[in-house]
């Protein structure tokens, strides 16, 4: 039976291919000149170059974090190319103008844009390596005043908004990888929902790393003004390369009074092969500022890829009565390592946060939940509920939980629950005795285990996440 289990979890990576598009790749290495080159290539204003240079100066003084429960050889930051853009017309007015090769790539990824747009009415801001190639449904969004575009376009068209909010949630010197991103980020997404507007559709972005050994430094900024609301979906895949690739993104969310931001991620970067060779280092800083009263920020993530995942989508609960949520499924297999969780920083009165984390470890992988719940002295009446469940598959995998709880106000209520379970031989035998094969059994158990998180995802994404987990766990049984 354990051989059957082994087989199901050892599925090859479906998205492992390189699109043959001519790329404009910068020479490897990083210094002030590289940063000036990136900024010049993108035709950026002076203030943004200053932001980059300040971040670079901060980064130079910092050292890589080593506290995470994940190990990798030291990264040579001078061996990375910090810029890569597909060589093609930068401005496209319709999907028909998009490079057909690129479209085929998305077909292979199972993200046929036409179909996707038609079926789901989702506006997709496509990121291919570091430059946006197509933005859809923009007109419809513009009608209600929603801005949804690439980050570089936002810098050109809405510099005052970018300048006002960039770095306000994650300052330049926040941490090593965020500082690096702030210095060298190339593109990403920008989203602005004006006062009182409920975004009429889910906004969706697909990220993809395509050039071997090019770091990917995405920058995303989402602002919801007073009473605005938006649901944002991010999906990630990357082709299979033998050397590790660094992905250090930064995502900042700002919610003003009564605003609501829901950010959902399905991450399936290349995880390396079954011996742990290759794969993405996914070192990402995501943080939301629930700035206004009654604001709400909700993170939902399904992390199934990457050789190493290091990310803690967090919420700073500044406004009174603001709400922070974190729903996470992290699946690791083979030699994958995940150290992921959240931080809920309660500052405002009667702030509430919910954390639901589900970790699934298979193969020789290690899966850690790391979370901080901090109740500041000002946060009277704050409440937190945390639930961290781990599931082990096989004998060689590890599950770890590192909850940090700091309470500085005695009117706060903080609850933490944790459990560890195992897909046991006995469960598998029970399914088998009812005629159900191992593949279907594992899929059913895993989906049951993740139910609390999946039901937070937008419907279309929930289906994709379910399929993805089944795909990662199914295979040649029997």
């Amino acid at each position: 039976m354990s051989a059957a289990l082994q087989n199901i979890i050892n599925q090859p990576y479906k998205h492992g291919f390189v699109t043959d598009i001519e790329s404009d790749v910068a020479a490897k290495g990083l210094d002030e000149g590289t940063i000036r080159m990136i900024s010049a290539k993108r035709g950026e204003p002076e203030w943004l170059l200053d932001f980059r240079l300040k971040s670079y100066a901060a980064w130079l003084k910092m050292t890589e974090p080593t506290w995470q429960n994940a190990h990798h050889p030291k990264i040579d930051f001078q061996a990375i190319s910090y810029y890569s853009a597909p060589k093609q017309k930068p401005k496209l007015s319709s999907m028909d103008e998009v490079d057909p090769e690129l479209l085929r790539t998305f077909e292979k990824l199972g993200v046929p844009l036409h179909e996707r747009m038609a079926l789901a009415g989702v506006a997709v801001d496509v990121i291919f390596d570091s430059v946006s190639v197509a933005t859809t449904y923009k007109a419809k969004l513009a009608e209600v005043g929603v801005i949804f575009c690439s980050f570089s376009e936002a810098v050109k068209e809405h510099p005052e908004l970018v300048q006002k909010y960039l770095g306000t949630v994650i300052p330049t010197g926040d941490n090593f990888y965020a500082a690096l991103n702030s210095a060298v980020f190339t593109d990403g997404s920008f989203c602005f929902i004006p006062k009182g507007v409920k975004c009429p559709m889910d906004l969706s972005t697909y990220f993809r790393i395509n050039t071997e050994e090019s770091g990917q430094f995405e920058r995303t900024l989402i602002i919801a003004e007073e009473g605005a609301s938006v649901s944002y979906l991010e999906g990630c895949t990357a082709p299979a390369f033998s050397s590790n690739q660094l992905h250090a993104a930064v995502v900042e969310l700002v919610a003003l009074d009564n605003a609501d931001i829901k950010y959902s991620t399905v991450q399936n970067w290349y995880a390396g092969d079954e011996n742990g060779v290759g794969g993405i280092y996914n070192f990402v800083t995501k943080r939301g500022l629930a700035k206004g009263v009654n604001s709400r920020i909700s993170w939902t993530q399904v992390e199934t890829g990457s050789a190493i995942t290091w990310k803690y989508p967090s919420v700073v609960l500044l406004g009174d009565n603001s709400v922070g949520e974190f729903y996470s499924v992290a699946l690791t297999n083979h030699y994958q390592q995940a150290d992921t969780g959240t931080k809920m920083i309660h500052i405002g009165k009667n702030t509430r946060s919910t954390i639901v984390s589900k970790g699934i470890s298979a193969g020789h992988s290690n899966n850690s939940y790391r979370g901080l719940v901090k109740i500041s002295p000002s946060a009277s009446g704050a409440r937190n509920y945390s639930q961290c469940d781990s599931m082990l598959i096989g004998q060689e995998s590890g599950a770890h939980t590192f909850p940090y709880i700091q309470v500085g106000n005695n009117t706060a209520q903080v609850e933490h629950e944790a459990s560890t379970s195992k897909i046991g031989e006995d469960q598998m035998f029970y399914f088998a005795q009812r005629g159900i094969d191992a593949e279907a059994a594992v899929s059913m158990i895993i989906n049951g285990f993740c139910k609390d998180v999946f039901q937070q995802l937008p419907l279309e994404f929930a289906v994709e996440a379910t399929n993805l987990l089944s795909f990662k766990l199914e295979g040649s049984v029997g």
């Binding site: 039976m1 379970s421 046991g424 031989e425 006995d426 469960q427 035998f429 029970y430 399914f431 088998a432 005795q433 009812r434 005629g435 159900i436 094969d437 279907a440 059913m444 158990i445 989906n447 049951g448 285990f449 993740c450 139910k451 029997g478």
Partner: protein, 264 residues
Amino acid sequence: MIYPNSKTILEVRNLCASVSGTPILKNMNFTVKSGEVHAIMGPNGSGKSTFSKVLAGHTDYEITSGTVLFEGKNLLELAPEERARAGVFLAFQYPIEIPGVGNSQFLRLTYNTVQTHRGKEELDPLEFDDFVREKMKLLEMNPDFLDRSVNAGFSGGEKKRNEILQMALLEPSLAILDETDSGLDIDALRIVSNGVNQLANKDNAIVLVTHYQRLLNYIVPDFVHVMEAGRIIKSGGKELALELETRGYDWVSEEYKAATRVAA
């Protein structure tokens, strides 16, 4: 019930099985025909539960020799799920809990899987809901149990009823009930037994593995077998169970030893 000209459902010949190199079943012989109810009794450690699991295909056990024919086919060649689809059902002594997996979803998957294998139509969730609720009446089950996770937090009695409900859904030709009576109070025992009796017919067979005569008052066996040290040492009719109840197992063991000494 014993019917004339009934077909053989299970034929076990000289079956030997071991776990981690330790022999548990030693030359087990056992034949079951359609319509029959057999009870296998015997002291703890005699191999009763092992025998049930071996028939269901549990991978902890290694078959070292012997044959098992199920409806004329070599059962030992089949994977556990294939045996189940072919009509071998095991009601577990300790049904496992599967938190997070909804009972109705699980029941529908098992039902549809087996139906598909038999070339029959699957039921969609709505059709299945009507179907399963009807079956649940047989076991006097509360409908809210469909909304709960499989066996999670179920009482002992609820777990056993859930096992028999699955038997009712899958309509196996061979049902092995491994200590289904253990942990049941009098009312639950009556309900579960009543359910089993209604499911028994001339085309299927039931094997009860039990410690106690009590169950056999409700489900009356055609044959009673006594197991010891991995084999059947005595077989008889339902009156054998009553005799065991009053006299214990020792006398059967002595009788068997005497007989084998004579044979030697």
